[in-house]
Amino acid sequence: MTETQSAPVREAPERAVAAIELSGVEKSYVSHGETVAAVRGVDLRIAEGEFFSLLGPSGCGKTTTMRMIAGFEDPTAGAVYLHGSDVTGVPANKRDVNMVFQSYALFPHMNVFENVAFGLRRKGVPKDEIRSRVGAMLGVVDLAGREKRRPAELSGGQQQRVALARALVNRPRALLLDEPLGALDLKLRQLMQVELKRIQREVGITFVYVTHDQSEALTMSDRIAVMNDGVIEQLGTPREIYERPATRFVAGFIGTSNLLGGEVAGAGERAVLAGGPDERIEVPLRDGAAVAVGERLELTVRPEKIGIGLDRPDEGLCRVRGTVTEVVYLGTSTNYNVTTAAGADVVVFLQNATSADDIAVRGDDVWLSWDPRHSYAIHPDA
């Protein structure tokens, strides 16, 4: 009774119906008599046509989450909705989503055409329509003319595109991709990232992309959910995730991040941390966050936001003293590793736009400076 009453309430959202919605989804396994939680309460709304990434280290629950959307795993608790209807407990072959597997999972005994036509044949689509739809889809993934090839006769990148075509030809409500570029070499991977984005724009289908590669997620996604230990640490656009990491984990996992800590010496709109003589470390307190004087606070600054110089920086900038421990020349940029007077290790990326020589060499005492707006306070409990 309560079930039937509560279901319509959940199905009536304030906004447009989400393509995929997870509500309080949990998944635990029993292994060797012990219960292991893989996913510990995930709430998600993925909009129609969105390129959405689940990003996290291996074992964070991202693949389990995707497999629950696909229907290969049933959640221990919570519900999965596809376009507003509850599909919890519906098996994968009866769900209107398709998946691209990490290993591609092409049928080795079938040629390219038969592989791509498999889903349509299962649905009983007329032969003529199958031929035209498969042909068109092979055109989209740039494999026209290779219908008769066996998967073993194709390169890794081509197999990848067959797997993509085999899923997309069914016009699913959403396409799930499980680390699909993991087996390709770097060049091909970068090529396929652009290619995937193009295909997604072309077919207009919701993509859910699972990856542990942060640059991949940043490149392609409209939004990213960063997962760790079975929960979503942060959900936002690539820019939000990168520029404003909400937790220490996100700051460390996405890109290179510098963590600075200290006692709060003054609080107001901005918290001022106690530092060495003439140093100034400030962080704006956003979203109504409050700290008290004497509390310990940590903040992050991205390496490319920090400037480095031998002279004292201008007033109004955050400034910290340090000693250069390493200089790495990378062509387009130079990385400086600096140990601050307080003992924190800070990385600075400097574009080699004008400078012909390095600003500092190993052993130099330098000033680090950045705009206080680029300081982000980390949740103390994270």
Binding site: A70, F72, P91, A92, N93, K94, N98, M99, F101, Q102, S103, A105, L106, F107, P108, H109, F118, G119, R122, K123, A152, E153, R166, A167, N170
Partner: protein, 275 residues
């Protein structure tokens, strides 16, 4: 300098390499000869124009035995028994063994380890022991020995070979292939028929061929479990006391020929599947 040293290093190397190749060639020829000679003699003596009871001395060429192949009706019965038992046991064994191999290769379940050990025991158990114990078992259960007990025994000892061959194939397969089929709308039966079975087919076929070969030339276990029923190997064994007729060589030649054809087809198919 270079023109001087070059012929010096090249000259001693050439005969060395040639000698190694000829050694390898000799070894290969001896090995092939060793394997083929008994078969060649069997085929040859199927054409022997012998007039005595024994077929040991070459007395000239004839096609007589091919014409009078079915003259010895008890021999014909024995061959028919052997063929039908081999076909039936292969059929039963392949179905049961394939499912066993699939389960062992794909799933972890209670008793999996025990099943693997039992399979290994069935393969490694000496035939004479297995034959003797089967006989005691049939006698204990008071089952009349005959066609049926031979069939049961053959299924019993060849099932492990099929299961092991299929298991090896299943273990090497990507399990997400079946998930992909499910994802694309295939139910359990369609998944098995369209994806699982075709991908493990090379293993199933090798297992079936093995089962057939094991059954058709089995003597030891059949001897214990046959009762009054006679199979081809049992008939030949019995005939050695009075003289083995050349029809036996002809039957052997024909069975061998069919085996060779099947082996070639199977090898070609596997080569294509690998490519």
């Amino acid at each position: 300098m270079t023109t001087l040293t070059k012929p010096e290093t090249a000259a001693p190397r050439a005969p060395k390499r040639r000698r190694r190749i000829s050694g390898l060639r000799l070894y290969t020829l001896v090995l092939i000869g060793w394997l083929i000679l008994p078969i060649a003699i069997m085929i040859l003596f199927g054409f022997n124009d012998t007039h005595g009871k024994q077929n040991f001395r070459w007395e000239g060429f004839t096609l007589r035995w091919y014409v009078h192949l079915f003259d010895k009706s008890d021999l014909t019965t024995a061959v028919v028994n052997s063929l039908t038992i081999a076909l039936l046991s292969t059929l039963i064994t392949t179905v049961l063994g394939t499912f066993a191999g699939l389960a062992l290769g794909r799933y972890r379940f209670r008793g999996r380890g025990a099943t693997n050990i039992v399979l290994f025991m069935a393969i490694s158990c000496p035939e004479i022991v297995m034959g003797a114990s089967l006989l005691s078992m049939f006698v204990t259960f008071n089952l009349p020995r005959g066609y049926l007990t031979i069939l049961v025994a053959h299924v019993m000892f060849s099932i492990a070979f099929v299961a092991v061959t299929v298991r090896a194939r299943v273990v090497g397969l990507d399990p997400s292939i079946e998930e992909a089929a499910q994802d694309l709308g295939a139910g359990p039966w369609a998944r098995f028929r369209l994806v699982t079975l075709p991908t493990i087919m090379p293993g199933v076929v090798s297992g079936a061929l093995l089962a057939f070969v094991l059954s058709i030339d089995d003597f030891v276990i059949s001897n214990f479990t046959s009762g009054a029923t006679v199979t081809f190997p049992l008939w030949i064994y019995g005939s050695t006391r009075t003289g083995t007729p050349p029809q036996v060589n002809v039957m052997g030649t024909l069975i061998f020929a069919v085996g060779v054809v099947i082996a070639i087809i199977s090898a070609r198919r596997n080569a294509r599947a690998v490519r």
